[in-house]
Each structure stands twice: as structure tokens, then as C-alpha cells.
């Protein structure tokens, strides 16, 4: 549990979630990634923006 002296980030701790339980595929990639990990989604959006 987060202590008062800690600052919780936007990055969900996915280290101990088995890979086969956190997948997303096809058209659902973006929405699932945003649900599982908002920070990764933000990085992703930045990647899209910089590619256009």
C-alpha cells in the first residue's frame, strides 16, 4: 500500500502481472493500453503525434 511519504505515479506496476493476462490486440490496443497503463498510452499518443 502506498505510504504517506510516497508519491503514487501514473504507471501501474505490471511487473508481477503475467504477460498472458495483460494483453490487448487488434483495434483494442489503444483503449486497453490506456486502461492498463495511462502513462504508456500517453507515450504512445506522443509517438503518434511525432509521426505525423
Amino acid at each position: 500500500m502506498t505510504q504517506d511519504t510516497e508519491i503514487t505515479s501514473e504507471v501501474y506496476d505490471l511487473r508481477n502481472i503475467p504477460l498472458d493476462e495483460m494483453g490487448s490486440e487488434g483495434d483494442a490496443i489503444l483503449s486497453n493500453l490506456a486502461r492498463v497503463n495511462p502513462a504508456a498510452a500517453r507515450v504512445l499518443v506522443a509517438a503518434f503525434q511525432s509521426s505525423v
Partner: protein, 744 residues
């Protein structure tokens, strides 16, 4: 198309239909269904062989990679050593070539002996044992027909398994609320099983469970849950773990709760297929399907309405359940427990208990498990420094990001994904090491833009497998004649866009091709070592073009420069060294600029990497490393936290540039120039003559620029509270250096 939506992944094989105990709560013998009376006592070998054939046929047809087969009863050990060996051999012979067979046996333990254990070891069978808690709890139901206790025999069996942990699957405990929950828990915990499960006794609305109070089962389970949590969850308890997982949107581990489709089928001793075993408590004949292994495939069974009803998730639940706020955790409970008045269209007979228990668990296990940094860690990074623990924390959050990005690629390369999943399970450290390679994230982000080669997922998997010491045979991506294995090196001289890579104790190769393995180059000084990354196909993501593959003499130049640069950092800039040692994994050579001016860069997606053209002298390389690694650190912090208002489109004056910069650019530059100012602040005392004067001028200029930029950030009104705290710490680092501007 067969119309099959969801293949079976678990088969309960009834190898014996009788039992040597007479437990009065047994769903096989003591409830509505009495079909056991008409079945063979032992599953004949030919029936087992046919069952094995059907399972293998089904797994192959539907590309099921892993099947669990549970040898069950009655009491399966009554089948005897030789017969069980025959059945296990039949299953292994048929299934091992087709899929991963997770073979288990569930026993009361009474007859377990060393000979059985040897047999289970030979056939890779894991053993689960029924035990209802302490002696008093266990003897309440689990007795021999003549009334004798089974407790001592079961404890002896568990002792055998404790001595052979590779065989030990866990303990299943059926709940009786008349037992003391803490005594039951303590008895189970004292046995230190690898896993325990707490099972609600099978009951229906027609035949409800004993219920001394309205939520007696919830109260009983909550008492254990609270104690289990207070003890630090010393053993996995499947019911609790499932409810915690479903509370956070993850799949259940048990058919007892959650909305996951059932993938279980039962094969009786006569070869008939049945639905889930617990249906025996509903009504006589409830589990029957009318199909058998001799005439029907598992695909036929999968079409049975009773099987399908347990695969439709929330859609199959009673209206009351579908509206319930905890339905995704509860899933209507076990299908059997919904039965009443001829229908399964009801909530569970344990509805009130499940509701109360789930609410309690949700309240006690708040959502997640986000990465968090102690305030002291954020403050330490904000000063511009940061030591090993701080950098380790940043790297761990990067690992989570990379796992999410990797998972987004799962459908693109199924064989690679399966290998990654198994490595994640068995060799997580090896996988993490590869995932943290800077350019793995660059590739993964590129894939989300539709760039790059999806097959590179296999290169990542192969690198992790080789790191784990596993043999590998997998089709991988080939770029410009090389197979790059991140963190390891490249196999050169490969033709085509892809190839089947083989790796074993004799090395890495592609059959039929003349190839050359080139180990990744490392720069090492003392106990600090980084990759000199001149081969990764995704490294060319920096502001300046990456160099090509380095020649031997260029590598030697890099080695000499790095050794001298690191010596300088360690001696003159010791506050940066621990962070670099923990977080700098890679130096990527860039093309030298035509003007020969120093060139360096970082890429936001490449945490851990600093890119640079080899500068003219080691001190400049030290400066470039210190400068660029600031961007590495801050980029990782910005992945975790909002330090500024991202919607702000204002451009700000950056004293070191002619063009105005967005807020992040200003923040990044300011943070990096703390290190630049510091470099020159120290450097002016280490050199003489013109060099000293130049260092002095550089220090005063960069200090002034950086200090001014800190004030611009502070006055922007667009920093978040955490961003203000961060910038304030930056100012605290810079402020005392202002008093050092005069060179003495």
C-alpha cells in the same frame, strides 16, 4: 468452422469411481446424482487411451498450447500403481507431442506412498490433497466408512509431499462454518503448502448449506482473509487471490468466481463426457451430456448447451446478478450453486456471502499497485543527482511500461509471444534484462505506429531465452543480413527477411547458412560496464544519425575514451557516478558531425541509452555523458509524473537557444544544464591556462543560463505542484554555485 467458441483446457479424468473414505459432504457419493453406482470401478486402459486421443485431437485442432489433466475419482490412488502408470503413459504419449501437458492428481492422500511419489515424478504429475484443516475440522467429515479418522494418514501423505516439493501442488479445504476459521487457517499454514484453496461446500437453493447466520460463510472467510493478510499472505489462497485479481480487472484463477468462461470437461470411468463435476449435487443425471470418448470428439461436447451456458459470462447470469455491482468479481459464483426449482437462472445460494466477502476484499486491497516513489527519492532526483536506489526505481517503472507495450504486440507473432509468456513465468530476470534494453521500447512504440517488423518480437524472446540458458528454435527477424539479439549480439551473414534461429550449448546459428556470431561490444572500467550499441536495428532514433557497425580500431578508441571519461567522472563528479552506474546501460555511437563539434543525444523512448559521436578528448565524453544522462533520468520521471501542464502551448525563452521552447523542452534543458554547469564548475579547478579560463567562462555562462531558466519555469504558472517542488530542488542545487562564480 466447427462453431466452437472456446476450447477445453482442463480435463478431469475419473480414473476410479469409488473411494476409501466415506466423507459425508462428498458431492460424488452423497448428493443427488448417483450415476457412480453404474460405472466401472476403474477406468480401463483402452478408455484412458481413447480419452488421451480425444484430448490430443482437440488440442491440436484448436492450437491449445497447454492442457491440464487432473486424475480424479472417487479416489484415484485406488486405481493402483501399475494402472495409474499406464494411464499417465497414455496421456504423455499422446499429448506431449501436441502441447504442454500439466498433469495432476487429486487425492485424499490416505494411500499415498513413496512408490506413488516415484511414479508421479516419472510422469511429471503434481499432487493436490484434500484436508479440511486441523484434526477436529478434518474429522468432522473426512472419515473412513467405519468412522475412523483419516487425519493422521493425510498428514503423513503431506509429509511425503513436503519432502518432494516438485510434486506438491497444494491443499484443498472444504469449508464448514462449524469449524473455527482461525484454527483451520493455522493448521493449513503450518503445513506450508505451495497453494491452498478454500471451497464452499456444494449446495443449491433446493438443498441449501447449513447457515447459522445470514452471512456465516462470508464471516468465516473474512476472519481467515484478515489473518492471512496480517500474516503477509504466507501461502497463495486461490479464492482470495481470485477475488483480489478480479477486483482489479484481471482473470480469476478459479471457476468458483469470476466471469471467465468455463473450459473444464469431465471424463468418467466408462468414457462418458460429463459437465463440471459439482453438478452432481443439483439433480440426478445433471452433469450428463450423452457423449462419450468412443463416439464423440471434445468438439461435440463443446457444443452441448450445458457447456455453452458456462461460457457466456455475464450474459448467462440471472438478471439480478447482471445488475450487481460486484458481478465481475463474483461471476454469479459456481454454476452449480445457482440451481433451484429446476433452473440455474438464479444468483448463487451463497450470494449474500459472496457479496459481503467481495466488498470486504475490495475495501482491503485498494487498486493497485502503481509505481510510487518516496518523496525523498523524487527530491534526490530533482536536485539533479540521484543514486542507485533512485535509478533502480525508475528502471522498474520502465519495466512496467515495456511490459505493457510488449503485450500490445501479442497478436502479431504468436510463437514468440508464447515463448515470452513461458519465460516470464520461469525466467523473469532474464526477460527483464532484455526488456530493459533501451531500444526494445523504441521498437515497441514503432510497432504501435505501424513501423518496424512485428517478427522482431521473436528476437526479443530469443535473447531472453538464451540468457535463461534455454535452447531456442524460433523464426526471427533479419535486418540487413543480421539477426540482432538485444543485449547479446548479432548473427551476421544471414539471407532473407527472416530465418529460423537455433541456439543451444554449441552456439547460435541458422541451419544451412554460413553465419558469424558477433558478441555485443562492451565498454568496461572496473566493475562498471555498458554496451557499445552499434548494431541494434532500432538505435537510429536520435537527433543525429547513428554510426554504422564500428571497426576494431574504432572500438579500441571508444574503449580508451570511455575508460578515461569514467575515471574522470568517478574522481571529479562522484555525485553522478552511482546513478550512472545504476541507470546507464548503453552508449550508442553517432556519426561524427562534419564540423567535428561534439554531438550527443538521448531519445525519450530509449531509457538507459546515451548516444554520442566519439569526441576529441575523454573529458568531453564525460561531459556528454553527464549532460545526456540528465535527460534519461528526467524522461523516466516524466513517464511517471506530470510535472507541468501538458496542455500548455506557450513557448518560452531558453537562454541557450535562439528559438523559444515548449515547457518540457525548457524543463529538460534546464535539468540537463545543471550537470553542464557542474561539470565546468569543477573542471576549471582541474585544468590550467587557457583551458582553465575557458572552463570558467563556460561555468559562469551555463550557471547563469540555467538559473535564469529555473526562474522561467517557476514563473510559468504551468508547473504542477510536484513540478514546482521539483524545480525548487533544482534551484537549491544551483543557488550555492552562484557564490562560486569568482574563480579563486
Amino acid at each position: 468452422m466447427t462453431g466452437l467458441a472456446i476450447p477445453f483446457r482442463q480435463v478431469v479424468l475419473k480414473v476410479h469411481s469409488r473411494c476409501d473414505l466415506a466423507c459425508d459432504h462428498c458431492y460424488v457419493f452423497q448428493h443427488a446424482d448417483q450415476s457412480w453406482r453404474g460405472r466401472p470401478r476403474v477406468m480401463p486402459a483402452e478408455t484412458a487411451a481413447r480419452a488421451a486421443y480425444r484430448i490430443a485431437e482437440h488440442a491440436a485442432a484448436h492450437d491449445v498450447r497447454r492442457v491440464q489433466v487432473v486424475l480424479h475419482g472417487g479416489e484415484p490412488l485406488l486405481a493402483g500403481h501399475r494402472h495409474l502408470a499406464l494411464i499417465a503413459a497414455a496421456l504423455r504419449d499422446r499429448l506431449d507431442p501436441v502441447c504442454e501437458l500439466d498433469l495432476r492428481i487429486h487425492t485424499n492422500g490416505v494411500r499415498l506412498d513413496e512408490r506413488f511419489c516415484d511414479l508421479f515424478a516419472a510422469y511429471g504429475i503434481k499432487v493436490g490433497v484434500s484436508l479440511d484443516g486441523d484434526r477436529a475440522a478434518n474429522d468432522r467429515h473426512r472419515r473412513h466408512a467405519d468412522g475412523r479418522s483419516s487425519y493422521d494418514e493425510v498428514i503423513r501423505a503431506l509429509g511425503l509431499l513436503a519432502a518432494r516439493p516438485e510434486l506438491y501442488a497444494g491443499i484443498l479445504c472444504t469449508i464448514d462454518v462449524a469449524n473455527d476459521p482461525i484454527a483451520v487457517y493455522e493448521a493449513l499454514a503450518a503445513l506450508r503448502p505451495p497453494r491452498a484453496d478454500l471451497l464452499l461446500p456444494h449446495a443449491t437453493w433446493d438443498s441449501p448449506p447449513p447457515r447459522p447466520s445470514e452471512t456465516a460463510y462470508a464471516d468465516w472467510l473474512i476472519a481467515i482473509f484478515d489473518r492471512w493478510r496480517a500474516d503477509g499472505a504466507p501461502m497463495p489462497i486461490r479464492l482470495f487471490d481470485s477475488l483480489i485479481r478480479t477486483a482489479h480487472g484481471r482473470p480469476s484463477l478459479s471457476e468458483a468466481v469470476g466471469l471467465e468462461p468455463s473450459t473444464v470437461v469431465v471424463i468418467e470411468t466408462d468414457g462418458s463426457y460429463e459437465q463440471v463435476d459439482s453438478l452432481k449435487v443439483a439433480y440426478d443425471g445433471a452433469p450428463q451430456t450423452g457423449f462419450d470418448v468412443f463416439r464423440h470428439s471434445l468438439d461435440d461436447v463443446a457444443g452441448h448447451p450445458g457447456i455453452r451456458a458456462r461460457q457466456r459470462g455475464a450474459e448467462a447470469l440471472a438478471e439480478e446478478c447482471r445488475r450487481c455491482p460486484v458481478v465481475s468479481s463474483c461471476g454469479g459464483g459456481l454454476f452449480t450453486h445457482r440451481f433451484g426449482a429446476g433452473s440455474f437462472d438464479h444468483p448463487s445460494v451463497y450470494c449474500a456471502d459472496l457479496f459481503k466477502l467481495i466488498h470486504h476484499i475490495h475495501r482491503e486491497t485498494p487498486m493497485p499497485t502503481s509505481h510510487a516513489l518516496p518523496r525523498a527519492t523524487v527530491d534526490a532526483l530533482a536536485t539533479g543527482f540521484g543514486s542507485a536506489p533512485e535509478l533502480d526505481r525508475l528502471a522498474q517503472s520502465q519495466l512496467s511500461l515495456r511490459r505493457a507495450l510488449l503485450a500490445a504486440q501479442r497478436a502479431q507473432a504468436p510463437a514468440a509471444w508464447d515463448l515470452l509468456v513461458s519465460l516470464d513465468r520461469d525466467h523473469p530476470a532474464a526477460l527483464a534484462e532484455v526488456l530493459l534494453h533501451p531500444y526494445v521500447r523504441v521498437w515497441a512504440v514503432g510497432r504501435l505506429r505501424g513501423e518496424g517488423d512485428a517478427a522482431y518480437l521473436a528476437n526479443i524472446a530469443a535473447a531472453a531465452a538464451i540468457r535463461a540458458g534455454a535452447e531456442v528454435k524460433i523464426r526471427v527477424s533479419v535486418t540487413a543480413g543480421s539477426i540482432h539479439l538485444p543485449t547479446l549480439g548479432s548473427l551476421d551473414g544471414v539471407s532473407g527477411d527472416d530465418a529460423v534461429l537455433l541456439a543451444d550449448a554449441s552456439g547460435v546459428r541458422v541451419d544451412g547458412q554460413e553465419t558469424t556470431w558477433r558478441e555485443a561490444v562492451r565498454l568496461t572500467r572496473g566493475d562498471f560496464s555498458v554496451l557499445l550499441e552499434d548494431s541494434d536495428p532500432h538505435r537510429d532514433c536520435h537527433q543525429w544519425p547513428a554510426s554504422g557497425r564500428l571497426r576494431d580500431e574504432e572500438i579500441a578508441q571508444w574503449r580508451r575514451a570511455f575508460e578515461a571519461a569514467w575515471d574522470l567522472i568517478a574522481s571529479d563528479y562522484p555525485r553522478y557516478a552511482p546513478g550512472l552506474r545504476a541507470g546507464l546501460t548503453t552508449i550508442t555511437p553517432l556519426m561524427t558531425a562534419p564540423s567535428s563539434r561534439p554531438v550527443s543525444s538521448t531519445a525519450r523512448h530509449a531509457f538507459g541509452a546515451v548516444a554520442a559521436a566519439l569526441p576529441a578528448d575523454p573529458a568531453t565524453l564525460a561531459l556528454l555523458i553527464l549532460h545526456e544522462f540528465q535527460h534519461v533520468k528526467l524522461g523516466a520521471v516524466l513517464d511517471m509524473y506530470d510535472l507541468y501542464d501538458e496542455s500548455d502551448t506557450t513557448l518560452y525563452h531558453a537562454p541557450w537557444r535562439e528559438d523559444p521552447r515548449p515547457l518540457e523542452g525548457l524543463l529538460q534543458g534546464t535539468y540537463a544544464h545543471i550537470a553542464v554547469s557542474d561539470f565546468w564548475r569543477v573542471r576549471r579547478h582541474a585544468v590550467e591556462g587557457e583551458a582553465r579560463q575557458e572552463a570558467q567562462e563556460n561555468f559562469t555562462r551555463w550557471w547563469s543560463h540555467t538559473a535564469a531558466a529555473v526562474e522561467t519555469l517557476t514563473g510559468s504558472g504551468k508547473m504542477t505542484p510536484l513540478g514546482m517542488r521539483f524545480v525548487s530542488a533544482m534551484r537549491e542545487t544551483l543557488a550555492p554555485w552562484g557564490d562560486e562564480r569568482a574563480l579563486v
